[in-house]
Amino acid sequence: MPKNVNLDEWRGIWVYAEQRRGEVSPVTWELVGAARRLADAVDTYVAVVLIGDGVGRYAEQAFAFGADKAFVAEHPELAEFRTEVYGRLVVDLVLERKPEIFLLPATTQGRDLASTVATDLACGLTADTTQLEMDVEKRMLLATRPTFGGQQLATITSARWRPQMATVRPKVMPRPEPVPGRTGEVIRLEVGDVGADAPTRVLRVVEESNESRILDEADVIVAAGRGIGSKANLYLVEELAEALGGQVAGSRPVCDAGWLPKARQIGQTGITVRPKLYVAVGISGAIQHVVGMMQSGTIVAINADPKAPIFQVAHVGIVGDLFKVVPALTQAVRQRGRRAVLETVGG
């Protein structure tokens, strides 16, 4: 059994800094925040692994968010993520430096890389975690993930193997406050003629219209569920969203029906969001939906059914007919909004 017997050789908590087209994804800083918390519990360091072309400039940001070290591999051949090429670099680095925990984002890139690397290292990999805790005495990672469509949570451990690997969903861990001027150590990696014999080559990258990024960045999201009844009624949530300065999203049935684009679907098979305010309109609150929005700052639910499960995750709610309540909300927001603006202008 390829199990690492001497656990004491393995120290430090690492984060893979995902870059796409030269930009490090925000999820990286969320993971650095989580890693910092775990590292402080067992008194060890946090490192980020930056791979790409010209990504070294992100080291300072990593330090500001809480990292102590940055491993940097830069080369034009590394500009685009390729599983085999990145995988080899990461495996070599892990074997040389022996971190006890290694976190990657649960994105297409993070999942591919994590699974590839874990296979080579013969270590455990927990997928898609939403909670990370530390058993301090055993220095054991307790990684919790939703399974079976989110109906169950499972805590997964890999006590006797190192590193303990996990992918973590974006937008689940809070993004830490950066501390400007916080410093760390940059360790540049010798990459040689990396990628020269790579089996794959990126021919084209076509970026999409940024629907999901729009939701990513929205402070306010108003989401419509099947209760909205038809596409023609969507204007109700659109008006409320506009009054609140937010964006419109939907549950799966709404997107499946084509009332909203697929990229606007919130939930397990859609995207995960974490706005400051989430308004769920005519959404029952199935767990597959809830896993995609439960980290929102404030959750408002409008539903005719007082027993709808959405009220178990909502902070505030109105039980009532959305066709009456939503226009009333829009009206109220517009009035308040106008007042706030007038006051500002007047003052």
Partner: protein
């Protein structure tokens, strides 16, 4: 052309439970289906065979009754169904799953000829890790082409394939050597229907069954024993029950009170209560 398609039988409903004592999956009374994306992987393989001729082998690791999933694939046109089944394979995590599948694919290569392409789904509905395809590629030491939504071109003679992959916010066109592992999404193709006679015939069809010993796997690396991860606890998410603050009355009254509450609590970005600044 020889394609191996890995399929997983998964429970059809969301009514699945995990045994709270063992932390393992309790599938009693739940109908089983072929993982939906795996049918798209099979369709891709069948389309290769339609164009180039050759052979499609379907492989699954699972309990005895997973043979029915293989029969469904046979009805759709697969040439052979192979069931890896053995108590010692049970409760495998993704690491041990890829080990078992890898040993079986090696046996397939030895006995049925070289494999040009291995296809899987992106995710299985139940475990939902998306780790098996990438892990398998690594074990086989072949390139991974994941999240594939289109095959632009393929040449089995020249051993070259060009695919489109869908990743966050972009479509990436990737050229690769063959053999390779493709993980397939539902966008890749439209799954054909099995003709009724084929469905009926497949009910009786033979599937090949292999055990740990048949594939020459090391029992220490299989199943629970060979799994670095364990489910140490499973539980139902705690509802935040009772903590929702309700606003009642006529829609206008309730709505106004709710909005005032949110503004007072500074819950709506960009909105502030009149005069709040001075206070």
């Amino acid at each position: 052309m020889h394609a191996v398609v890995c399929i997983k039988q998964v429970p059809d409903t969301t009514e699945v439970r995990i045994d709270p004592v063992t932390g393992t999956l309790d599938r009693r009374g739940v109908p089983n289906i072929v993982n939906p994306e795996d049918l798209h992987a099979l369709e891709a393989a069948l389309e290769f065979r339609d164009r180039f001729g050759g052979r499609v082998t379907v492989l699954t690791m699972g309990p005895n009754f997973a043979a029915s999933a293989l029969r469904e694939c046979l009805a759709l046109g697969a040439d052979e169904g192979i069931l890896l089944t053995d108590r010692r394979f049970a409760a495998a995590d993704t690491f041990a799953t890829t080990y078992a599948l890898w040993t079986a694919i090696q046996k397939i290569e030895r006995e049925r000829g070289p494999v040009d392409v291995v296809l899987t789904g992106r995710y299985a509905l139940d475990g939902d890790t998306g780790q098996v395809g990438p892990g398998l590629a690594r074990r086989l030491k072949v390139p991974l082409l994941s999240y594939v939504t289109a095959v632009e071109s393929v040449d089995f003679q020249a051993r070259r394939i060009v695919v489109r992959r869908h990743v966050e916010g972009a479509t990436v066109t990737l050229e690769s050597r063959l053999p390779a592992v493709l993980t397939c999404s539902a966008d890749l193709n439209r799954v054909r229907y099995a003709p009724l006679p084929a469905l009926l015939a497949a009910q009786e069809a033979e599937v090949t069954t292999w055990t740990v010993d048949d594939v020459g796997a090391d029992p220490e690396q299989c199943g629970l024993k060979g799994s670095p991860t364990i489910v140490s606890k499973s539980f139902v998410p705690e509802p935040r029950a009772g903590s929702c603050r309700f606003f009642e009355g006529e829609p206008e009254t309730a709505a106004a009170a709710l909005v005032d509450f949110l503004i007072e609590q500074e819950k709506i970005p960009g909105f502030e209560l009149a005069g709040a600044k001075e206070a």
